[in-house]
Structure formats: C-alpha cells, structure tokens
C-alpha cells in the first residue's frame, strides 16, 4: 500500500517535471502565452509529488512497514522518535526524497513569488531549467534509486537495524543534512535564472536582482549546514577535531567558496556593469559543484565518513554534472558577444579591485582544495601509487590564502568604489589598524605565541575593526536599521568569520592532547585541569549498551565519556564528553573502556582553547546574512528596479 502510493507520487512528480520541461520549451519557443500560464500548474503537481512521496516514506518508517526494502534497511522498532524521523535521510534513496522535497519547495516558492509575471520568458525559462533539474532527480527516484521498491518480508525477519549508529547518537544529525540540502539545492534558483538569461539574451542585471535574495538564502543554509556538520563531527566522532579534509567535507566547501566569491563579485556588476561573464560563470560553477559534491558522496570512489551513503547512482550524477557544466560553458561561449561589457577597473585602490582580488583568492582556495581532493585518485589511476594528501598540504597551502582573505576582509569595506585618495584611505584605516594592534597585544598578553597564530590574530582584529567601524557609523545614523541591508548584514557575517578564524587558529595551534592510563580513584592533571577517575557504570536499553566512566574535572562537575554498543548494528563507537566554555573546551574520550566495573581505563583528554567561537561565529554568519536580505532603507528595492530598467 505505502509502496504503491509512494511510487505513485514519484511517478506524478516525474511526469509533471517532464511535461513541465518539454511543454515549457514548446510554449516558450512557439510563444504561446496560454501554454506558458500552465507552467504554474506543473510546479504544484511536482510539489504534491515530492511532498507526497516524502510523507509516505515517513509514514512507512513510523509504521515499520517492512514490506518496503528501504524501511527494512533504515527502520527499527528500537530507534527513538527523533532519529526515526531523521532515518529517512540516513541512506541514499530517502535522502534523495529530501533533496527532491527541498527542490520542489524552491520551485513552488519561485512560482509563487513571480506569479504576477506568468508571461515573462525569463521566468518561463528559469522554471523550465528547474523542471529539468527536478526531472533528473525524479528520474533517479523513479529508476535507479527507487525508495519504494518492495518485496516479500523474508522469513525470520523481525525488525530492521535502524540508521547507522553514527546517525542516531546526536541531535545535530536532525539538522545538518536538511540545512546542507537547503543550501545545495537553493543554488538551483540562481542557476536557473542565469541559464534563462543566457537563453533569452537578457543578460543585464535583471536576473541578478531577481535572484539576489535566493542566493543569499542558499548561501546562509550552506554555511550553517557545513558548520553543523563540523560540530557533529566534533561531538560525535570522538577524535577531538571538527574538520578532517575528508573528500566529502571538501566537496561541500567548493560550492561554498565559489558562492561566496559570487556574492562579492556580483556587487561589482551592479555598481559598474562589468564582470558579467565572470558572475554568470560563478553561478553555473557553484551549481555544478553542488552536483559534483553529491557525486563524490554517492559514488563510492572515496573512503569517507559519509561512506554509508554509497550507491550505484554515481554514474548518473557524473553524467548530470557533465551535462550541466559543459552545457553552461557552451551557453556562455554562445552568448559571449552579449555578455561583453565596456569598462575596466581603473584603480587599484578601489572597492572593485579589492573584490576582484577577493574573487581571485576564493578561486585559488577552491582550486587548491579541488586538486588536493582529486590528485590522489589521479596518482592511483596513473601508476597505482597510494597517495594521501592530508592536513599538512591543506594547512600550508590554505594558510597564506586565508591570511590574505582576512586582510582583504578588513581592507575592502574601507575602500570606496571608483577612485580614492591615499589621504582618505589613511583616515579610514586608522581605527581598524589600531584594532589590529590591540588584538595583537591582547593575544600576546593572554599567552599566545608563535608567528602564524599571531599574524592571524592581528589580521582578524584588523578585519573586526573594519567591520565594527562600518556598523558603528551605520547604527549611529540609522538606529536599529543600521544592522540591516547588504552592507551591514555583510559586516556581521564578517564578524562571524573573524570569530570562526580566531577559534580555528587558537584551537588548532594550542591544542594539548594526552592519553592517561588510570585506575579508579586516581587523579591526573593537564594544563592546570585535574581529572579524577571516580568510577564506571553501565546502562542499556533495547537499542544500545553503554559503558561510561565518571571523570570529575577540577573537583567540580562529573563528565561521562562512554563506549556505546549499538546492538542492531553491532558497532561500538566511543561517545565523547565535552566541557565547553567561552575560553576553552575540555574533550574527554575513552581510548580503552574498563573491562569490569571500575577497572583501569585509558582516557584521552584534549584541551583546546576557543573552540566554541567556531559555532558562535557560524551563528553570526547565518544571522548576518539573514539581516543582509532585509532592506536597509525603505523602498530600496523599488529604486534598484528602476535603476536596473534604465541601465
């Protein structure tokens, strides 16, 4: 029943997507307005198909409808409700349902938002591109990764295993994938409008204005998704780190970098009318990279922490990536003559030059990461060498680029558009420069040592000074509205980046890590913190068996790192216990659990300063970019639209 119903919804969505795509193309080419008006109906049908399929699968998981193979794979009567809800995206087929649901949501949002202009070919083509993308994902759900395949329940089958243990031991699992998908899938909207502008030849700024908020929205969720993923890794995986330069992590960073570059360079186009080719390329690259990232996650080419989602749809995604990326390049080449714009950047000391440098750096960073991720594969293909490109490569290549980005983050907001005088710059630089020096001084006073960290702290303080200067001035003039709008919201994002950078550098540079063999009652110290092994204990329910030890930190509160055995999966995972504060994190994880009650243990204690600022910084980045889409002044949009029409 569920199986047939779910597959029915998938079929509905697939058909509606196909008809929308081809019917839309026909309507647009033949110019039949009455057909164009029907495009909206297809969006609604796709929405019904995607939502219906998702809901049916959730119902099947909660009903433990084991006639559906996917439910046999991820369902279990012992999974707690929240993780059972999240179980739908714990494996491939269901996560594609989530993808499709998000895509249908964006499609409907675009349809509703632009409902007043049903005959606009730009909108028509954008919808067609989105229908095309949704046809692809429905095709996957319809054929190679059909989540509703059912079969007779095998003899002796009583209960499913539930999701992978790593996907049911922290609440962040319920948020990281949906956030990431909102980001990944959200970039479909600017991509669709970019392609539509190429097809219609309306390559002016109209499509940029139409999609600016959508892009910021997608970027916000991609940022939050990545940071939540890092946080999950830190809280769950027990290695005390948050970023492993794992291929799949890198894959999520690539579209983030090109998307960030776009959010900056788009302002050059709006101010100066140049860089059209570049901007449209960045949008296409960002969308292509989201597909590329999905390919890396799903193809099984890499060993990765995300390897539980391997599948046979790798070749499909690769084909789609090839189609999207080559198609975009072809379209851009085809419209090359329209995209050209006169004018160039005249001064080195201008906002546009700073943004261009910023784009160069983000591009370089994306390239460094792409090479580092794919080169080992290349080496193994060519001569069978097993090569690992790990942290040292990314650290040493990324560090100088990161420093330059921090510097530009401070400098760019100070430089005006067009020409500027050295005198003006000097005057504006005063406050940030002092902030940088104060930051350096404070770091040294608090015991920070080492060349690179001190450079980082100085540059970060400089960037913070620059952002704060802008915010102070703006709040002084406009009161609470001073934190709204692109520029001010952007500065709050910058402050978030500064916090994140400081947290990153401090927690990486001053990490202290030690393993202790301890008997019960013993006490050890690390970095002035004392740890006393008070005793051990066991707990179990139908799902897990847990052996935890009680560690008293600084004669105060007790923390309980544990080893958790997931009965169904037969997998044992360490569960760390973390004491966080604004100053430092103390991370406890068991290297060896006690074999009997209160037996000897091996305890790993990690002290890392300022880790929490990574998460707070991420929050600021999300908050800032939401503020950035709220208008700074009333009626600013009207003015922008008039401006776009006249240009």
């Amino acid at each position: 029943m569920n199986s047939a119903l779910g597959f029915g919804f998938v079929s509905l969505g697939f058909m509606a997507s196909l008809i929308g795509t081809f019917g839309g193309i026909y309507a647009l080419i033949s110019g039949k307005d009455f057909l164009l008006k029907t495009l909206r109906q297809w969006s609604w049908l796709i929405g019904i198909g995607a939502l219906g399929a998702f809901v049916v699968m959730e119902v099947a998981i909660f009903q433990r409808d084991y006639s559906i193979n996917y439910v046999r794979q991820v369902g279990s009567s012992s999974t707690p409700r929240l993780y059972n809800f999240a179980a739908i995206w714990s494996s491939l087929e269901g996560s594609l349902l989530l993808w499709m649901l998000v895509l249908a949501g964006f499609l409907l949002a675009v349809t509703i938002k632009f409902a007043s202009k049903p005959n606009d070919p730009l909108l028509g083509w954008a919808l067609v591109v989105m229908f095309g993308v949704s046809s692809f994902f429905f095709l996957i759900l319809f054929g190679p990764a059909n989540p509703f395949v059912s079969s007779e329940i095998p003899l002796g089958f009583i209960d499913g295993p539930g999701p992978n243990p790593l996907l049911q031991n922290h609440i962040l699992v319920a948020f990281h994938p949906p956030m990431l998908y909102l980001g990944y899938v959200g970039f479909t909207v600017p991509f669709a409008f970019a392609i539509a502008s190429l097809i219609t030849g309306r390559v002016g700024d109209g499509w940029l204005l139409a999609t600016r908020r959508w892009t910021v929205f997608a970027w916000t969720f991609l940022t939050l998704g990545i940071i939540l993923g890092a946080w999950w890794s830190y809280e769950v995986l027990g290695w005390g780190g948050f970023w492993a330069w794992d291929p799949v992590e890198n894959a999520s960073l690539l579209p983030w970098l090109t998307g960030t570059a776009f959010l900056h360079s788009v302002m050059i186009q709006q101010q100066r009318g140049i860089l059209r080719v570049w901007n449209i390329s960045l949008v296409c690259a960002t969308f292509s990279l989201t597909i590329f990232g999905t390919f890396l996650t799903r193809s099984g080419v890499f060993d990765s922490v995300h390897a539980f989602s391997e599948s046979a749809i790798g070749p499909w995604l690769l084909a789609f990536f090839a189609f999207v990326s080559l198609g975009s390049i072809f379209m851009i080449g085809w419209r090359g003559n329209l995209l050209s714009s006169k004018g160039a950047i005249s001064s080195f000391k201008s906002r546009e030059a700073a943004f261009l440098a910023n784009n160069f750096l983000f591009g370089a960073l994306a390239f460094i990461i792409l090479i580092g991720t794919t080169f080992p594969l290349l080496a193994e293909l060519i001569d069978g060498t097993q090569l690992t490109i790990a942290r040292p490569y990314f650290d040493s290549m990324g560090r100088p680029v990161g420093f330059m980005i921090l510097f530009l983050m401070g400098a760019a907001p100070l430089v005006p558009w067009g020409e500027s005088s050295t005198e003006l710059l000097r005057q504006r630089l005063n406050f940030p420069a002092v902030a940088g020096l104060v930051g350096l001084l404070i770091s040294v006073l608090f015991g920070a040592r080492g060349f690179y960290p001190l450079v980082a702290f100085t540059l970060a303080s400089f960037a913070a000074g620059s952002a704060l200067r802008q915010l102070f001035r703006s709040v002084k003039n406009q009161k609470f509205r001073g934190v709204l709008g692109r520029k001010n919201g952007g500065m709050i994002v910058h402050l978030g980046v500064v916090m994140l950078a400081v947290g990153l550098v401090a927690s990486e540079s001053y990490r202290v890590d030690q393993v202790f063999r301890m008997k019960v009652g013993e006490s050890v110290t690390l970095e002035g913190n004392s740890f006393e092994y008070v005793g051990s204990g066991d707990s179990e329910d139908s799902r897990v068996q847990t052996r935890f030890v009680k560690i008293k930190i600084n004669d105060n509160k007790i923390y309980e790192p544990a080893i958790t055995r997931y009965r169904r999966q037969g997998i044992v995972v360490p569960t760390p216990s973390v004491r966080s504060s604004l100053v430092k994190d103390i991370y406890l994880v068991l290297d060896e659990s006690p074999e009997e009650q209160d037996g000897p243990i091996r305890l790993r204690a990690i002290v890392r300063p300022l880790v929490i600022w990574l998460w707070i910084g991420g929050l600021f980045m999300g908050l800032g970019s939401l503020l950035a889409v709220l208008p700074a002044k009333k009626k600013v949009d009207l003015a922008a639209i008039v401006e776009a029409k006249t240009s």
């Binding site: 080419v301 090839a322 090359g336 080195f348 193994e380």
Partner: protein, 191 residues
C-alpha cells in the same frame, strides 16, 4: 593595476569569451574523463579489500553446536560468511548459501563457515538454521570480523585451498556466481 585591467579585458572581450569557454570546456572534458575512469575503477567495491591475494586471517573457535572450527589446514575452498539475523540482506541470501552448500557437499569442493556479526540473541540462530536449512558451522567471535575488516554485512570472503583470500563480496551472494568463480579459479590453476 595594469594586471587587473588586462584580466578584466581578457574576460570581457567578445571573441575571447568564446575562446576561453572552449578552453575551459576542453579542460572540463578531460576532468570528466578522469572522473569516469575513477568511477569505473574505484567505484566497484570488490577491489577494496587489503586482504585480496594475501593469507586469510586465522579462524578458530568452537561453533554454536559445539564443534572445533579452524582454517589452519583447509585443503578446500572456504566461504567465510558474516551475517546476523537482524540484517535483511543476510536473511535474503540464506537460500543461496544453502544452494551453494548442497553443491559444495556433492562435489566436495568447498565448506562454509558463518560468523555471527553481533546478535544479542544467539538461540534464534539455531532455530533459523533448523527452519531454513544449512548445516555449516557458525562461530560467534567478534575478533574475526575485525581481522577481516568487515564493516557492513552481509559480507563474504572466498578463501582458496592454499589459504589465500581470493575474493570479497559485499552484499548478498548468489550461489551460481560462487560456483562459477570456484570452478574457473581451479581451472586457471590447473592450466
């Protein structure tokens, strides 16, 4: 300043756009070709095991029905199957293992050793075998799974008569496939 304006010009000149697009397109084609090759070669799961072509890890212990099991001197093919009753694939593949086991007994070519991959309820296993067929020994020793590097079940290893891991199968097995592999492997050796 000059550098940046020339960069700008390069991006914006009419004819250059098409030229640059062509170059980028070609680079991308090469990159995609490389990804296709990588998918074909590394995307298949069987090639992954570090054990392939190496001596199989020791299997020793007492089976659930109380017999000594060891692979120290097999003299015949051993099919090492990791399974559990909570694993849908393992239950689905059971009839195939029974089929294979019948063939193996008739031809005296192979024996199966099953290893429980974590099951809270071992008594159900005997019942499962009684009702579904299969009389091969079942071991309950978690260290075997970690020696073989098993992460996901069902997973099956084919160990040749000289004790070398010849094949790793992740996912459900098919009897005909196992039989064909063993037959052709023996032929290769003889020729």
């Amino acid at each position: 300043m000059n550098e940046e304006s020339s960069f700008e010009n390069a991006l914006e000149l009419n004819s250059s756009v098409s030229k640059i697009a062509t170059v980028c397109g070609l680079v991308l084609v090469v990159f995609i070709g490389f990804l296709i090759a990588a998918t074909l070669i590394f995307g298949s799961k069987e090639s992954e095991s570090r054990l392939l072509g190496k001596q199989a890890p020791t299997i020793a212990g007492v089976s659930l029905d109380g017999n000594e099991v060891s692979n120290s001197d097999p003299g015949t093919w051993q099919v090492v199957n990791f399974f559990a009753l909570w694993c849908p694939g393992c239950i689905a593949e059971h009839p195939e293992l029974v089929k294979f086991s019948n063939w193996a007994e008739e031809n005296n070519k192979a024996e199966i050793v099953a290893v429980v991959f974590d099951s809270p309820n071992l008594s159900g296993i005997q019942e499962f075998f009684n009702s579904n067929g299969g009389d091969w020994p079942v071991l309950d020793n978690p260290s075997i799974a970690s020696d073989f590097g098993v992460g996901k079940i069902p997973e099956t290893f084919l160990v040749s008569p000289d004790g070398v891991v010849a094949r790793r199968i992740q996912g459900e097995v098919v009897a005909a496939d196992l039989i064909e592999f063993i037959e052709s492997y023996s032929d290769d050796k003889i020729s």
